[in-house]
Amino acid sequence: MTGFLQNTFNGLVSGAFYALLALGLAVIFGMLRVVNFAHGAFYMLGAFGAYVLLAEAGVSFWWALLLMPIGLALFGMLLERAVVHRLGRLDPLYNFLFTFGLTLILQDVVKSRYGVQSSPYATPAELSGSVDLGLFDFPTYRVFILVFAVAVCALVWWLLSHTRVGVVVRAATERPELTRAFGIDVGRWVTPVFGFGVGLAGLAGVLAAPMRAVNPLMGADLIIVVFAVVVIGGLGSIFGSVAAGFGIGLVQSWGEAYAPPIVAQTLVFIVMAAVLLLRPAGLFGREESAA
């Protein structure tokens, strides 16, 4: 029983990363209809940025947690203005290629400077040790990640459902053309939304630094699962991406504990195939109307 609960908790913690990354991908896809292949690279930059800030400038984890998402959001907005926006008028393939190429460039730039081995990042002192959860002890830092990620997802949810910006983003996500016809300059919201999604990836990266190996390929390994998460949740569905993120975290953790390795490694994709067979638009997705 204790073992099961521990696996469940670990699953929720990896699910927290999936949820944060999938949330960013979902808002970007919803608003821009761009599949951001560079999302994993932005996550990696978040983690590496935290590492570099600490190693070379002595900037603490807490400052990195604030500065890296903001910095990456600004970088994302710049990219959107400079390239993504211009390519948006062409075939979607151009933005696929651009974000994919950008991933390779960012990875190699980091690789050429810091190599491929993992760089250590110490858990902040305030969050080291473990907490007693009754039946078992659990690392404090992991509890922090879980609480923090749930709070971020809840905040995004609240913004989308209770603010004017949220209504406009939801409307533009669902029917961009109609929303423009109601006097709303959808284009004006595209850049901040892209930046916001990239910032979320950076935030997940900073959170990952003390827990996961910080190396140039850390995003590439993770992002494949995140794409599966987004598809399972339903493309463009904000709620679906978060729910599927935590769900897949759990499934993976239970699979690693109780299923043979060959099944555990492919479990995410088995789930994705099953979901696509039963609900082609994903668990929380809507069938796109023929338009």
């Binding site: 939801r170 409307a171 053309e177 109609l178 016809a181 709303i184 959808v186």
Partner: protein, 238 residues
């Protein structure tokens, strides 16, 4: 108020509108009638700036709006009621009603503007009040049509572009849509209406344009439509 000259439009290589010319004066209700595929919806989409391949002059109150982006046209007072009723599945009824910004009056002479207050909207459409917090996807077709009309009235649009607002509605609801359009007209709203239902068209409209194969074939008044009803119905294939 609205003047359209030489409006042509293409879908790829195919030309769907040929030099359409029409005029709608302030306070008028004018319909576009024509067979399916005659280009009625395309005319409205061109006016909203939603059709990429178009050429020609579109003037609103003497101002050329032909090159303005869609959202600027809406802010000048065009209110689109699309043929699919334009409901958002992920927004509640109240959220959709308040999605378009309320347009301010253009001049000091027009002190209050045309925008309906929410209270007035809910008074005129009690059903929308009852269902204000549910997603629009749960509304019936008639309720979605009321929502589409209420939305542009609350916005304060000066020229409504209504694409077949009576399509698929019960006779009772058709009467209601007619009442709303007449009420809007009384308050100074101008309407360009795409309509297949000739009887409805003559009840609410002042004049009519018959569109055939992407061009204006005839301009008709109410008495002409009534006296030639059989011929027109046969032509429209209804």
């Amino acid at each position: 108020m609205l003047r359209v000259e030489n409006l042509s439009a293409w879908y790829g290589e195919a030309r769907v509108l040929r030099d359409v010319a029409l005029r709608v004066d302030a306070g008028e209700v004018v319909t576009l009638v024509g067979r399916n595929g005659a280009g009625k919806t395309t005319v409205l989409r061109c006016l909203m700036g939603l059709h990429a391949g178009q050429r020609g002059t579109v003037e609103l109150d003497g101002r050329d709006i032909g090159r303005l982006p869609t959202h600027r046209r809406a802010r000048l007072g065009l209110g689109w009621v699309p043929d699919d009723r334009g409901s958002y599945a992920s927004l509640s009824v109240a959220e959709q009603l308040t999605l378009p910004p309320v347009l301010r009056p253009r001049s000091s002479a027009e002190r209050t503007g045309l925008a309906w207050s929410l209270e007035r909207v809910f008074e005129a459409f009690p059903v929308l009040y009852q269902r204000r917090s549910v997603p629009a996807s749960t509304l019936s077709g008639g309720e979605q049509q009321m929502l589409a009309l209420a939305r542009v009235l609350r916005m304060g649009a000066r020229l409504l572009l209504c694409d077949e607002p009576t399509e698929g509605l019960s006779p009772l609801l058709v009467t209601q849509v007619g009442d709303i359009l007449r009420q809007a007209k009384r308050h100074g709203v101008t309407v360009l209406l795409v309509e297949q239902n000739l009887r409805f068209a003559t009840e609410v409209a002042d004049r009519h344009y018959l569109l055939a194969q992407g061009a204006v074939a005839e301009a008709l008044d109410n008495s002409a439509v009534r006296s030639r009803e059989r011929e027109l119905l046969a032509y429209l294939g209804i």
